[in-house]
Symmetry: C2
Subunit: 337 residues, 2 copies
DNA sequence: TTGAAAGCGTTACCAT
DNA sequence: ATGGTAACGCTTTCAA
């Protein structure tokens, strides 16, 4: 492998000058910098990663821990992994994957061996065991999601509470007095925090605005296709004139199907808002208003926090990303308003 | 951070003895080994990764490249990523994730900087651009999937051809004379190789055995729920008394639904075999015979090849994993046999 | 069975 | 603006 010595020789300078020219940590004359860059290009020089880690104090690698529980929604999860990788690369970092048992033990291992500069935590559970590990290690840890016990931790997430409230606000503003939330599976409300947070924001704001509200959980269409139908029927029977959906893409489509069967036109007969969805809602058969969950936003912020905490001492805190409302014409005043 | 020197001092030996005791590369007396292990435990010593990479010739990291195209089936993909990570960890390797643009450029980068010992390639396309890169780098590359141009490459995959043939054989052996394959989306037959290989095995064997056969592609239930129904109807109209399914989990369930609507009982009225599925088919509403795609098998083999090619010069070749037939009672002789 | 010491390829400090 | 060189923490050869 071609080393910094060969580059130095080819450019007729010392290795330290090559190092400085490449890192920019010290001014280098325009002329020699060019000679060095030429040599680098011609030789196809790429600094040795191990040597950099050893000499410098950075590995330029972030660990990404993902427990991958069986009930994890794969497409959403993949979107976050991808967004994290892209965000990290933009800042010059690679992603080291820690899955399953390694998500916890691995965190300690790669951190203690100085393999990574920081850790990003995905798929956060309310009582996540990685919280304890985060507190026991030296390197920074950023949670993408919010565990119950988040004292002293860096956390990043969509403000699901606000998303729930925002959905209610927009529907109430449009004149609706009775709305229903079709949410995730029962299990999701036990395993994760964010569904509860959205539900909480939904309920609280509905109460504040004296709006009648009801909640209906859904399964997944694959294993329990009929649950969606039941949820929709229950929502309609409750007298709701508007629906808030917090669910996966297939449930969205299934809900739209059921409504079409019932002869209900979106917007005209029934208003709908999708909240906290990370998939492309424009691919649905009917355009609907959305308060999206944008992985890129969370991951960019998480990576930014990670990078910054490498040389500053950041005050740990929970960063809630304000929800954003995207209109698509699926919300209108109720028929009997 | 605690270093090898502190361990050596605590154990009253030289650092080389500590190194040898830990690596096992040289016999160490029972007594001193124990003292060293005690010191390691008490000090919580973890060898510095950068130093190991630099001094040793191994990084103990594999790159995993995954382009993550929009049409990739997320659950299947996640299963492979997970299986690869687990397989690698079993052999002492971590996984460095290379996504999107990084899947190609990243391969050269991490390889040239000696960040990884080998590369695993996922989600292989027929004309995959990573083939050229694999040929241009020094470190071993293992493809999990088979590109069209695979000369001189290490490839690992389920023998989809044989899986297609096996499905035909079992149905023909049961007495069926007309069978239909409900396959993937049209797009999948352009973007990937494995659907074509299964289809090819299916057709070839059907012709060999003089079995009437037909093929029907399906969409995904999310975006095109009606395509599944059409595919099933077309299959039935073709006179098929048995179905081979090569599709995602939701399509499986949708097919079973349509058959239930038609009043057809699995096994009795119509035989079914699922081929090349990586999800848990036992979660379906009806138990069906399976020729599974087992990510763990491919990934274990891939990792094994990667590890072995680090010190032997392995002859490049395509490793086809023989398909396995799992009975569940969904295949029986045809009614009018 | 063990130890001393020469690298491994960088970075960054100290000079000039 | 540039060069020399001491770390960085480990692996492995050479000696004993």
């Amino acid at each position: 492998m071609t080393s910094i010595h060969e580059v130095a020789e080819a450019a007729g300078v010392s290795i330290s000058t090559v190092s400085y020219a490449l890192s920019g940590n010290r001014p280098v004359s325009e002329k020699t910098r060019r000679r060095i860059e030429d040599a680098v290009r011609e030789l196809g020089y790429q600094p040795n990663a191990g040597a950099r880690m050893l000499a410098g104090r950075r590995t330029n690698i972030f660990a990404l821990t993902e427990p991958l529980r069986p009930d994890t929604h794969a497409p959403t999860h993949m979107a976050f992994v991808l967004a994290a990788a892209v965000a990290a690369r933009k800042r010059g970092y690679d992603i080291l994957l820690l899955t399953e048992e390694q998500a916890s033990a691995g965190m300690s291992r790669v951190t203690a061996s100085d393999l990574v500069d920081a850790t990003l935590v995905l798929d956060v559970a309310p009582d996540d065991e990685r919280v304890a590990i985060a507190r026991s290690i030296r390197t920074p840890t950023i949670f993408i999601g919010i565990p119950d016990d988040n004292d002293g931790l860096h956390c990043v997430d969509l403000d699901f509470d606000a998303a729930g409230s925002l959905a209610v606000d927009r529907l109430a503003d449009a004149g609706h007095h009775s709305i229903a939330l079709i949410g995730q599976s029962e299990l999701a409300y036990q395993r994760s925090n964010f569904p509860r947070r959205l539900l909480n924001g939904f309920r609280t704001r509905a109460e504040e605005r004296r709006i009648a509200q009801s909640f209906h959980s859904s399964g997944t269409t694959v294993t329990e296709p009929r649950i969606v139908r039941r949820a929709v029927d229950a929502a309609l029977e409750s007298g709701a004139t508007a629906l808030v959906l917090h669910a996966a893409d297939d449930v969205h489509e299934a809900v739209l199907d059921v409504l079409a069967e019932r002869g209900l036109r979106i917007g005209d007969d029934l208003s709908i808002v999708s909240a906290g969805a990370s998939f492309d809602t424009s691919a649905l058969s009917v355009a609907i208003d959305t308060i999206p969950l944008i992985p890129q936003l969370s991951c960019d912020l998480a990576v930014d926090l990670a990078v910054r905490s490498l040389d500053e001492a950041l005050t740990p805190s929970v960063h809630l990303i304000p929800p954003e409302y995207r209109e698509a014409g699926s919300v209108a005043p109720p028929q009997h308003a």
